[in-house]
Symmetry: C2
Subunit: 195 residues, 2 copies
DNA sequence: CATTAAAACGAACGTTCGTGCTATTTTTCA
DNA sequence: TGAAAAATAGCACGAACGTTCGTTTTAATG
């Protein structure tokens, strides 16, 4: 009972720290210090650093879903919901939901060439994300809101690229216009496909 | 004399290693092992890990420029050269010029929220890259090949996003269609702006 | 060929990493 | 309230980290 609460608070911190320092730069000692716990006490919750990393990814996924999907599901399916997902993504960058920028963009580039269970988990999450985007596109087509000619996988690829590009320009280049550029591009692309 | 040659071979290895493990994951001991050198002998070339990281970034930049710009400069300025840069970028992903995927995409996401001279160097390089892209766009406009209505910064943002998106899909998701999707999107966007 | 400077080495420093024990404290529940 | 269980702390470990040092090997030069 108590353990579960502690575990959750450890993971919330771990997510923030990992978004700043990377999943590999995430360190048990530093995490314990920040939480005023002993290394071993914290460690006991996970049994290995790898398990901590996996649990951190899962916790970040919950935050991601809560920020991106939950609000969009309130919109009617089809074009409005698709647009809501896009807007939610850009708002999530602007608001700095993760202090070091999108957790999954960072983890994706950190682990894209590092075989192992951590990479597998990141990849699984990103596969699900892209498939969810494709599904949103397909629904907009099914509702007759969007041209049936566009390949959902292609459009999902493009939208995701604009999101990651906004994250890059915003956090590395401090381009305060980044999310606006991305939003204009998204809307132009979607409006052109609207039927 | 000899030292300069050694230094260069160290840096070439360092670039490859850093593209796989990250600039922070790049380790002097591991690098020395791979090159069958002593840690201290290698270390003496740089004086600190930070200096090694900076030199590694510069070496990666040379490879980047050689792969992306050099071939494009052979094309006539304007639309052909702009398109050549885009094609060069996607080819550079497909051919795995860096074994762990684009060095600068990885470094950008690794250091986007980590103040310090390393971040500053990565940012400087990426600023130059984006400005070069904007310049290519502006030249295409000046030549009368591309609509003057589009903001070069906006278009450069979009193109770069598609490149990074291709790198992401190719290396993390093993989407072999990634570079084709990106190429289709690039061409569709540019053709629509052609005058 | 001898001299000198440059380059590489091996050993050690203090620190931090992840992990394994054992003991102690805190929480839970009959 | 007291026994059992869960959670946390303390301490130690071997390995790896970046870095420093004095020494030895190699290369360049008169």
């Amino acid at each position: 009972m108590k353990g579960e609460r502690t575990r959750q608070s450890i993971l919330e911190r771990a997510v923030d720290l990992a978004s700043l320092e990377g999943l590999e730069g995430l360190t048990i000692g530093r995490l314990a210090d920040e939480l005023k716990m002993s290394k071993s006490g914290l460690f006991a919750h996970f049994g290995s650093k790898e398990e901590l990393q996996l649990a951190t990814i899962d916790t970040a996924a919950e935050r991601y879903i809560a920020e991106i999907f939950r609000p969009a599901l309130a919109e009617p399916r089809g074009y409005p919901r698709l647009l809501a997902v896009c807007r939610a993504w850009l708002s999530y960058v602007r608001r700095g939901v993760f202090p070091g920028g999108c957790f999954f963009a960072a983890a994706s580039f950190e682990f894209d060439s590092r075989p192992g269970v951590v990479r597998d988990r990141v990849r699984k999450m990103m596969d699900e994300w892209i498939h969810a985007l494709e599904k949103a596109v397909r629904m907009a087509q099914d509702e007759g809101h969007l041209s049936p000619d566009v390949d959902p996988a292609d459009l999902a690829f493009e939208l995701n690229a604009l999101f990651f590009g906004a994250n890059f320009a915003f956090y590395l280049r401090n381009d305060t216009e980044a999310t606006n550029r991305a939003e204009r591009a998204v809307i132009a692309r979607l409006e052109a496909l609207r039927v």
